[in-house]
């Protein structure tokens, strides 16, 4: 491949003095060594996984008149507790017993999809979508908070709000051992 045709082009008449042709084959070992050394350096010194940015939008707290009344029967409240666990219920607080759940495909994602369908089926349109309230407990981790926002993104629920937790809900988390 990397060699050139070094054979002579046939015999010439009369014995001309020709310089001895050296092989053009180069020893590439050193070059390969160097290349791999550089590759190793770049692997070690750089970051390949670029950070991703999850955009979040929050209500304007400086304005007081933008609060919309939330129909309680269409809300699903999610409380984030400690140990990667959460509790959720649909409707007003205390109407249905809270369900303990965890993150992941068969946990909160399933619940979000099922409750969304249920609420859409039981309410008349056009405003029959589910509203999700996320309340992060004092012992919940940032990872869980990001995870629940991610689940809402995956399930495509746009009507959501992050609300401060109330003392009654903190007490509920404590009672259920999630605090």
């Amino acid at each position: 491949m990397a060699e050139l045709d070094t054979s002579g082009g046939g015999k010439h008449k009369g014995g001309k003095i020709r310089s001895k042709k050296a092989s053009t084959r180069i020893d590439l070992t050193a070059m390969v060594d160097l290349a791999f050394l550089l590759i190793t350096f770049f692997i070690m010194a750089t970051t390949l996984a670029k950070p991703k940015a999850m955009d979040t939008f929050w209500p304007d707290k400086t304005k007081k008149d933008v609060q919309l009344p939330v129909p309680e029967t269409r809300t699903m409240t999610i409380l984030l507790g400690s140990g990667d666990q959460l509790e959720w219920w649909v409707g007003p607080a205390g109407a249905t017993p809270p369900t303990k759940d965890n993150f992941g495909k068969n946990g909160i994602r399933k619940a979000l999809i099922e409750n969304g369908k249920k609420i859409e089926a039981t309410h008349a349109g056009p405003d029959n979508y589910m509203i999700v309230l996320v309340k992060a407990g004092d012992k919940s981790t940032y990872k869980d908070f990001v995870a629940i926002l991610d689940e809402l993104n995956i399930t495509g629920i746009q009507s959501r709000a992050v609300v401060d937790i109330t003392p009654a809900e903190t007490a509920l988390l404590k009672k259920d051992g999630l605090d």
């Binding site: 290349a35 970051t47 996984a49 950070p51 991703k52 999850m54 979040t56 707290k61 993104n153 995956i154």
Partner: protein, 202 residues
């Protein structure tokens, strides 16, 4: 008895293909990779399925982890401008050398009162210095509030652009600590900001 002679073959291998592959990989790594920046506060960002890339310009990052809060803004001119404004606010005069040193810091976590002392250290000593984090409370006079405010003013003045904000939180940080930073953002009517995550599959 005649021995069967095995013809000796040369042990030299053709390295051309290997060399090609090595340089191809090298080119790939040089083009795709971004040099690692030294982080004074290493955090383990949580995973999410977000695919949007984090921008490199006009962005300020608040890092929350291990109970400390660090602040950093992109752009040396913005850092310098913000430092001058903070100095005026807290009655501390920074020398041009200190301002230059500060402009080279991607993130920092030192209270303004001890910032002068921190900037006076050599680079080796700075690495050993345990940065205590920027004081955060929910009042309008906390240092983080002012840093964010001055960085926004500097960015608007120098680049005429709205500074974007991002929170880089540690996975195991408790939510109330992150909430404090969010509250500071909301007080300044920063209602859109990003959470920095690493990519994870569903």
């Amino acid at each position: 008895m005649a021995r069967i002679k095995i013809p000796r073959k040369s042990t030299a291998i053709d390295m051309t293909a290997m060399c090609d592959v090595a340089f191809l990989l090298l080119t790939f790594f040089i083009l795709t990779a971004k040099l690692k920046q030294e982080e004074p506060l290493p955090v383990d960002t949580p995973g999410s399925t977000t695919k949007q890339l984090f921008p490199d310009v006009d962005v300020a990052t608040v890092t929350v982890g291990h109970g400390k809060v660090f602040f950093g803004v992109e752009g040396q001119d913005i850092r310098r401008e913000a430092l001058t404004a903070m100095g005026t606010k807290y009655n501390i005069t920074f020398t041009p050398e200190e301002a230059t040193k500060f402009a080279l810091l991607p993130t920092f976590g030192v209270p303004i009162a001890s910032l002068k002392q921190y900037l006076g250290l050599s680079i080796e000593d700075r690495k050993k210095f345990a940065q205590p984090g920027i004081p955060v409370d929910t009042t309008n006079t906390s240092e983080l509030f002012n840093w964010i405010h001055e960085a926004r003013v500097a960015d608007a003045g120098l680049r005429n652009k709205a500074l974007r904000f991002a929170i880089k939180g540690d996975s195991h940080q408790e939510y109330p600590d992150v909430k404090k930073v969010i509250d500071i953002f909301q007080k300044q009517a920063i209602n859109k900001f990003s959470l920095i995550t690493s990519l994870k599959t569903q």
